[in-house]
Symmetry: C2
Subunit: 421 residues, 2 copies
Amino acid sequence: MEQAGTRSGDTPVRQASLREHNLGLVLRHIAAGTGGPAGRAGGDGRAPSRADIAAATGLTRATVSALVDDLIGGRLVTEVAPARRTGAGRPALGLVLAGTGPVGLGLEINVDYLAACVVDLTGRVRHRAVHRADQRPAAPAEVLARVADLAGTVRTEAERQGLVHAGSALAVPGLVTADGVVRLAPNLGWRDVDVPAVLHGHPALGGGAALSVENEANLAALGELHAGGPASFLYVSGEIGIGAGLVLDGALLRGARGWSGELGHVAVRPDGPRCGCGAHGCLERYAGQDAILAAAGLADQQVTSDEAVARLTRLAGAAEPAALRALATAGAALGVAVAGVINVLDVDTVVLGGVYAPLAPWLVPAVGAEVAGRVLTAGWSPVTVRASRLGGDAAVVGAAGSVVRAVLDRPARWLADTVRP
Amino acid sequence: MEQAGTRSGDTPVRQASLREHNLGLVLRHIAAGTGGPAGRAGGDGRAPSRADIAAATGLTRATVSALVDDLIGGRLVTEVAPARRTGAGRPALGLVLAGTGPVGLGLEINVDYLAACVVDLTGRVRHRAVHRADQRPAAPAEVLARVADLAGTVRTEAERQGLVHAGSALAVPGLVTADGVVRLAPNLGWRDVDVPAVLHGHPALGGGAALSVENEANLAALGELHAGGPASFLYVSGEIGIGAGLVLDGALLRGARGWSGELGHVAVRPDGPRCGCGAHGCLERYAGQDAILAAAGLADQQVTSDEAVARLTRLAGAAEPAALRALATAGAALGVAVAGVINVLDVDTVVLGGVYAPLAPWLVPAVGAEVAGRVLTAGWSPVTVRASRLGGDAAVVGAAGSVVRAVLDRPARWLADTVRP
């Protein structure tokens, strides 16, 4: 044992884990060149050759070649025509992440829609589907059956394209335990729903890694990170409820029990109106989708909430005073809560997602003004407030991306599960 | 390079770093038995023998013995009489962290006092000194000269006890950059004070590691962690200003620029009274020391703020109505802000330090009531609110402890700097 260093600091390295480690090392180099989801900053667009990888990692060329052959065999990597000559000899083939191998299936349940999508290793969305309908009247098992059906449709299309199902992840707007039980989803009216148990054995979710279930704002934040977001930011997901995902130094901060990000229940006015959670003056009462629509005079209309948000966007674009007032009020409340988070956590970027993405032109100035006036450090280091790059799709794309990321993080496991009998 | 694993995941292990790694491994085993600052949970009180360490780490006995001899030579470890027989042969000597070797010098500047202390490797405070006086009228350079003089007094006493100066850390109630510049300390009235430059060459701070400067609440949170705090908690430091230190999974969360923890500037009522920072309704205006004393009718008296807090504690103990009202109001405001942090970050323990420690009997119920009513997850997992174990000393003890911790984390560096010529 004394010949080897250790991986975590206290655990001696086993010889057997070296191949696993080196597979990951090689794959990360290829991903960085591809600009896929593993290359957070977007990659440099240069597909490295086997020789490039050997030079960069300190591994021998023979070892790199054997590892690359395994990665190609597992459909994780593919060769591309050389982009340039490296010297006198034959130009070397470049290596990129495979767009034709494993894909992640992302699913999302929200109050007024269900969504599914398929993302490949390069981060590209290969197929998507959305089913718009209020999910509140249905029982949890019925909603889960619907989302599994949607998953089946999308998965069939992916398999028609020759892609390989690597696993599924489901985004839910609520508190989710580590084993996938939705402890509370206040706006869906769910309590203690054991999602893996309900969906167990459903054909659309079989094969690949087990279904994982995660808070939607957390998955949306990961989606934003993998889409080239900064290393540290606060992602705010505005829907009927308001969730947040915190990314610090490239990692999602889940909290002690995985229940971080309940921004909608931060008090904006401690003696304000009562919230569904039982407390008074929660942000959700000022800046949740229903609160904004009500303030703009667009509640209780016979349209879906999606159409109502589109209508609000049109009215705001036409400078209709009630719409502008509603958005300014919501933005100010959101700004107060966000400024509090920044004062405590010191992040310098705020990303607005969900319905906040299309409403960003009107929300950003109001949020920005509160942040500038309330964040103690704003004078030294201005805070950026902007719309999500993935818009309303961030959670479902982030869900699919989390599956892909797990494959890229542990390629040896993928190879063991798929290539070897 | 292919024979070895890697330490951080992307860096091949160099053979030369193995001794360094193994020194750390052995020292951590000894620290865990000692229950010193490296044994976070307090240790099991059993001093391991060389054979115990070999068995636990997988290193050979000969290697362990050589490493232990180096650690003893560097005064990091000492042998103690065997506590028990391990078999038929001669009882093995136990190994514990040395209380007679390197010590950290902790310093603190706060609005109404200066403090210094010396902490040894076992976490024991060997000497301390406090100088109570309002620091606001003095220029920053004068305050720094005073704290350096205090450091000199304490260091002289430590050297008289035969202890070895390992470095100094200074706690300041403000925003501190990575290179020790106090960007802003609002309640001291400091802006852009380059502490290392001002103190450069001061004899009390020479030798050992360079002086580090850090936010006081961050150092206090580290002090609480090393004193056996839980792995994740929010430390709240109540002084003239209110700072916070966030510990998640045993690590301090410093934020993107190291400026996390400005809890005092979280808005409790967005249209409340104007704060010194320029914003309205900041927590500091409701729960800062001066706000509490004013509400209790104890402001503007010809006593030090320390005496005023002692008087408030006595009045509250005697159930004087104005004192109880002032503490209930402050506790409720603190509870609103703390509940917001817990909703966003999901920590389950709140530690009240600074002047909040002696006032905890009256603050805890008010904070607890707001937290119970406002934290969405409180029903599943109650939040503990309690006084700091280190009381008002947490920051200065944490500062000294951070020096000691750096020695324990990198014993090879300490040995290279001190033992070898």
